[in-house]
């Protein structure tokens, strides 16, 4: 086993939360990931072994290796706008090689890169979003986001329990 070639088995489920905890509602993803980590600490060994949680400030190309070998992946992020406060949507990889940026990527771009880089279809993936209302440096979570957190947590739980 090496850093570039880890041979440790990966948990079949990956929750990948994105956001900056110091930028108001951008903290939605990291906060849900923290809640999940606390919840996992109270579960049995078999449950803990099934779920990996990764939090990052933004998605980058290298996250494609985190997707590799999973059964299912859930991305969590704050949404700048959306038709509903909380949304859980299935993601489809793009049919063509996506244009990607060096400094940040989208979940869909990562799914496309999984196919083109690793020559294997990406795992089934979904995106859970909670609409944010303020993203200023140092701002607290908005009241609207606070109100939406229980519903987002319920959706996260539902995704985990999905057969």
């Amino acid at each position: 086993m090496t850093l570039l070639h880890p041979d440790a088995p990966k948990a079949p489920l990956l929750v990948l939360a994105v956001g900056n905890p110091s930028r108001g509602d951008d903290a939605i993803g990291p906060l849900l990931a923290e809640q999940l980590t606390r919840w996992l600490a109270q579960q049995d060994d078999a449950t803990r072994a099934r779920i990996d949680v990764i939090t990052d400030q933004q998605l980058v190309v290298e996250h494609v290796f985190d997707l590799q070998g999973r059964q299912r992946v859930l991305f969590i992020d704050a949404a700048a706008q959306g038709p509903a406060a909380v949304q859980l949507m299935a993601l489809q990889p793009p049919t063509e090689l996506p244009a990607v940026s060096s400094h940040s990527s989208t979940p869909t771009q990562l799914l496309g890169l999984h196919q083109s880089l690793l020559n294997t279809p990406p795992p089934p993936a979904a995106l859970l979003t909670l609409t944010g209302h303020g993203f200023e440096l140092g701002a607290p979570l908005s009241s609207q986001a606070q109100q939406g957190m229980p519903l987002a947590w319920a959706q996260l739980q539902a995704w985990l329990l999905h057969a």
Binding site: L3, P98, V100, G138
Partner: protein, 508 residues
């Protein structure tokens, strides 16, 4: 003080061209070009359109939180902020003392891993598409995906070098981003022998890949002569950290400034004297400051930082393959500092190889797995920490009150040091490549290539986040919009009804 082409003598009646914002840089900026009646570039500016509020964010926080907190300034180089803040906050724990040898070596290992992965990010993801495919290649292809499509193994090497650096950071700090590890007064987590051995297993491969990338960067630059050498080439001073014997050092040292002729105009300046060394000039048309050397004034005192400055300034590098590469670089410049903006990529790859070799050496050092991690001393109330971040010199300066809360914070990030140089690069390219007729994708591409050579991290330099489409506006002498080009973040170019244009709100 303004410089030629920065401010037109009579802006009325000129044509304004706006590129907003610049893509494939971290953050959000835009370029404006103002044309005269002969449609020549009269004024060129790189604008930073949002306000940076980091210092205000830090003031009032306990000092021991600051190294972790400042990592949230940037998702790309958080470790640089962690280390600069740790160095500054060391004074609040150990005063003038030094941290333990093990703590310093762990910090250095962390720093080398960060610079390694950041330099890989820049070269393989940002620069390589321009250099491999040419500046006029289709935007939809001239990106990382294009590299992966055409040069798959090269693209994968870049991703794996990044991955290695991130994994070293994770093992040292507990997380790939926003971990701890480095704290005021030392380091809070010993490195296990097992984790050190994990790092050792891949380092020879990493060094080989870095050496290959260096060869590629050098060969592409040399094959592109004389165009690449002339592109955004302008004289300037260069500033970086060096050791007492002049060796380049990324983690510690004193400041050296070399002019375009290679003269050391300042040397061994104690970093604690940076307020006497530098003036942070404010200009009304941008939120980013313009630092310059007090002794030389704003016109002659601006300088560049970053890999090009580091390689130009160092008397030597202390690892064999990087030093051999530095000597080759110096020989190409005939012993004088290399001033071509695109030579940054060659220099950056020397920097990256130096990091990889330095990691290998540290992994053989028995001190690295020691357990003496925290030092003691007589605390002070003011601390200054300076390191060489991937993009150049990074300064953190804090004061605390009796309550141990931060009462003063000043950060000068690498992109701010390079502000005048970035504007100079835009001016140089705009004056040379604008054909006087219409907005073109070619002009847009050339300006972006010049900016990207400095790898500006506008999220650090301001508080802007994310990326947005690139936009060029052409406005005639009567103030009417006549042309609009938009490059979307997926690479699509769109020419849109100029009636949709509006005046930039921050235009003076």
């Amino acid at each position: 003080m303004t410089r030629p082409l920065e401010t037109a003598p009579d802006p009325s009646g000129l044509t304004r061209l706006v590129i907003e914002p610049v893509s494939r840089v971290e953050g959000h900026g835009k370029v404006t070009l103002l044309l005269d009646e002969h449609r020549r570039v009269q004024q060129a500016r790189l604008h930073i359109v949002e306000f940076r509020g980091f210092e205000r964010f830090i003031v009032g926080r306990p000092y021991w939180e600051v190294p972790t907190l400042v990592q949230r300034l940037c998702g790309i180089c958080p470790v640089s902020h962690l280390l600069a803040a740790s160095k500054a906050c060391d004074a609040f724990v150990i005063g003038h003392g030094r941290i333990t040898p093990t703590a310093e070596k762990l910090r250095r290992l962390l720093h080398f891993a960060q610079v390694l992965q950041s330099n890989a990010l820049h070269f393989f993801h940002l620069a390589a598409p321009d250099l491999l495919f040419g500046f006029d290649d289709a935007v939809a292809h001239r990106n990382l995906a294009g590299v992966l499509q055409d040069e798959r193994e090269l693209g994968l090497q870049g991703i794996r070098i990044r991955k290695y650096g991130q994994e070293v950071i994770r093992l040292l700090t507990g997380k790939r981003v926003h971990g701890t590890g480095s704290v005021p007064g030392g380091f809070n987590k010993a490195l296990s022998v097992a984790d050190r051995d994990l790092m050792r297993a891949d380092i020879a491969q990493i060094i080989d890949w870095c050496a290959s990338a260096l060869t590629l960067a050098r060969d592409l630059f040399l094959a592109g002569q004389p165009e690449q050498g002339a592109f955004a080439n302008f004289p300037s001073k260069f500033m970086s950290l060096v050791r007492p014997d002049g060796a380049g050092d990324l983690y510690d040292g004193a400041l050296r400034v070399v002019d375009a002729q290679g003269q050391r105009v300042l040397d061994q300046v104690d970093v604690h004297n940076y307020p006497q060394l530098l003036v942070e000039e404010v200009k009304p048309w941008t939120y980013m400051k313009f630092p310059h050397l007090r002794a030389f004034g704003p016109d002659d005192g601006w300088y560049r930082v970053g890999p090009l400055a580091r390689i130009n300034n160092a008397t030597y590098l202390d690892t064999p393959r990087a030093e051999a590469a530095r000597q080759e670089f110096v020989a190409w410049g005939s012993g004088k500092p290399v001033t071509a903006s695109l030579a940054q990529h060659w220099a950056r790859m020397i920097d990256m190889l130096h990091c990889a070799e330095s990691i290998e050496r540290l992994l053989l050092d028995p001190d690295l797995t020691g357990t003496d991690l925290m030092a003691q001393g007589t605390p002070l109330r003011e601390g200054i920490g300076v390191i060489e971040a991937p993009r150049g010199t990074l300064i953190h300066h804090f004061r605390i009150g009796e309550d141990e809360l931060i009462s003063y914070a000043n950060l000068i990030v690498s992109t701010t040091h390079n502000n005048t140089a970035l504007n100079e690069a835009v001016r140089s390219v705009a004056a040379h490549y604008f054909d006087g007729r219409a907005l073109s994708e070619g002009l847009l591409n050339h300006i972006e290539v010049a900016i990207r050579a400095y790898d500006p991290c506008l999220s650090c330099a301001t508080h802007a986040m994310g990326k947005m489409p690139l936009r060029i506006e052409l406005i005639d002498a009567q103030g009417q919009p006549i042309d609009l080009l938009i490059k979307h973040d997926d690479g699509r170019i769109e020419r849109t009804d100029p009636a949709q244009l509006h005046q930039p709100s921050n235009w003076p």
